[in-house]
């Protein structure tokens, strides 16, 4: 695997398109909240009512959960487990792989059903996958457009933040 495959540079129009797809998915599925994260645990974008939970922690844990399931699949001779479902008393969570690039997480409650969420997920994942393929094909040199002087200022801030 090429490490660059986990390196992303998102443009404003990428986010607009991801958000539009996520919004449409949310409307169709009637999920409470939908999040898109990369496979290393970084939140890309989210839509819906997140009820104030810690989305950064969520992304990190969900990606680890998904990664662990992937390894379990391989142990069992499967290529991958493409989705994960966790059922709670008041809310449930459905996670699905987006072409190895990302994870779509849908949080939902009694206002909808797992079947409906699954169905809508199946429809939207190829669209997300196509968009990620386009983003991945572009130059992802992260620092190319950072302003001159940015590095020095970041280094100064690192010294200030990580001080006794």
């Amino acid at each position: 695997m090429n490490p660059a495959a986990t390196s992303w540079a998102f443009e404003a129009q990428d986010l607009e398109r991801l958000d539009a797809l996520l919004g449409a998915f949310l409307d169709g599925s009637q999920a409470r909240c939908a999040l898109l994260l990369d496979r290393t645990g970084r939140l890309l974008t989210a839509a819906g009512d997140d009820a104030g939970f810690d989305r950064v922690s969520f992304a990190s844990l969900a990606a680890a959960d998904f990664g662990a399931s992937d390894q379990l699949a391989r142990l069992l001779g499967e290529r991958e487990f493409r989705s994960l479902y966790h059922q709670g008393e008041n809310g449930s969570m459905y996670l699905v792989d987006v072409a190895g690039h990302a994870i779509l997480a849908a949080l939902f409650d009694a206002r909808t059903t797992l079947g409906r969420v699954r169905l809508k997920t199946k429809a939207v994942v190829p669209e997300f996958a196509s968009l990620f393929a386009q983003i991945a094909a572009r130059d992802r040199t992260v620092g190319a457009r950072l302003e001159a002087g940015w590095l020095t200022e970041v280094e100064d801030e690192i010294d200030r933040l990580f001080a006794e």
Partner: protein, 192 residues
Amino acid sequence: MSMINYASREINCKIVYYGPGLCGKTTNLEYVYNKVRPETRGKLISLATETERTLFFDFLPVDLGSIRGFNTRFHLYTVPGQVYYNASRRLILKGVDGVVFVADSQAERMDANYASMQNLYENLAEYGYDPRTLPMVIQYNKRDLANAVNLGELRAQLNPDSLADFEAVATKGMGVFDTLKAVSKLVIKSLG
């Protein structure tokens, strides 16, 4: 490896603390959590056993704030050090931007340090990383213990490429921030 979002103007970088069991990786993160300004850090998440050994990972997001319009955030992770948790270690390395190798200075842990370093290289290779170009620093922890090996020997065994290295007593905070500063700066430079 890193992620830059030009729309929300965010940069996210992943730093992983690696090393043998009980070398002090979690202690490093706990010290950082307790010492940085509360508004700059998120929750410290620890997936640990009942005996407080890391089972999967610890996670701490630290936010540098907005600099020239870009919000820069470091995601700090530890891996479980015990040999049989290798599948978990490999998972956590996915997408890594920088590594802190935490070595245990005690003489009886030298073999474990060496084995963990080899294991790190093997796991990095599986993802296609070149350890010679990946930002990495070494921390020699537990320098306060009577059975600590001298620095020259540690360097000869664990740091043949003369990476930036630091002596530390993570329980007291000594060397923790110096280590983190060094790896963060290497990671930031590697973005350019």
